[in-house]
Amino acid sequence: MSSFLAISSPAQARRLFLGRSALVLSGAAVALLAGRDVLAAKSGKSTAADVRILNTALGAELEAIAAYQVGAESGLLEKPVLALAVQFQGHHKEHADVLASTIQKLGGKAVAAKSKYQFPVESLKNQADVLRFAAGLEKGAVSAYLGAVPLFANRDLSKAAASILGDEAMHWAVLRNALGENPVPSAFVS
């Protein structure tokens, strides 16, 4: 299996990554979250519960953005890997933006980013450490969304959360591939 780390040409590596990952979040799913006014019309106990789920997801997305920032500023990433990290961070920013706007549409108050996050920076010694750390976060994000999808009262939100799950799973697979690991280790995620 090709490992990103084993590829000498950054351009070649970048083409390999981007070619494999098809990193495009479904525009329809984003519209489900951000653009449908029908969401704003719903209210009540089930909506409050949905807002709570969205806010937990938003908190995790904001933390992921901060984590990628740590990786990007670590000085440990080669240029093409850095570009990839910035791209993934951009996806998390899109997720966070759309989650926050949906929470507001539903009448909730979106959580803000913490003023400070704590990450195991002392254990990040090289590029592989950073990639492994990011892969762990992305894997956790996949599981978190998987655990949230069945909880929404509003099925449109379940569908949109599943769309974000798919994006996080692609991140996880690409990061595993970069580490020289099987990018898709099983037929199911848990």
């Binding site: 519960a49 709570r52 789920i53 806010n55 937990t56 997801a57 908190g59 995790a60 933390e63 992921a64 996050y117 704590q118 990450f119 195991p120 762990g136 976060l137 894997k139 956790g140 994000a141 599981s143 978190a144 998987l146 655990g147 949230a148 069945p150 909880l151 848990s190």
Partner: protein, 122 residues
């Protein structure tokens, strides 16, 4: 009937003790979007969990009112109940996760949390 229930409870307790921490570490990877052992994140850190009152990890400010009110004290049994269905066990919790529904996975996860439960010296 009561004897049967007691026997079942004893068997569950034995099962919890028989959890495999290594398998539990793999289950714990599902928690890593929000939790870590050593640091507070979107959710509270997990070191020092056993014997701690729910909603009371020092330095973690984001607990839901529901968690703080729950009066749970974390041990093998309360963790097993919470992890099986967080929202049913503590309605209003911000741990909006469907739960670990497989009993063996919960047992392994709890064994891992117990094994790794000591907080690093600060």
């Amino acid at each position: 009937m009561l004897e049967g229930a007691l026997l079942l409870a004893a068997l569950v307790a034995v099962d919890v003790k028989a959890g495999d921490p290594k398998a539990g570490e793999a289950v714990y990877s599902r928690c890593l979007a929000c939790h870590s052992l050593a640091y507070h994140r979107t959710g509270p850190r997990h070191c020092g969990l056993f014997g701690r009152r729910a909603g009371a990890a020092p330095g973690f400010e984001e607990y839901s009112a529901a968690m703080k009110r729950s009066k749970l004290v974390w041990n093998e049994n309360t963790l097993d109940r919470f992890l099986s269905d967080p929202l049913k066990t503590v309605p209003g919790t911000t741990m909006t996760y469907a739960g670990v529904q497989d009993a063996k996975e919960r047992t392994d996860l709890i064994a891992y949390l117990k094994q790794e439960g000591k907080c690093p010296a600060s």
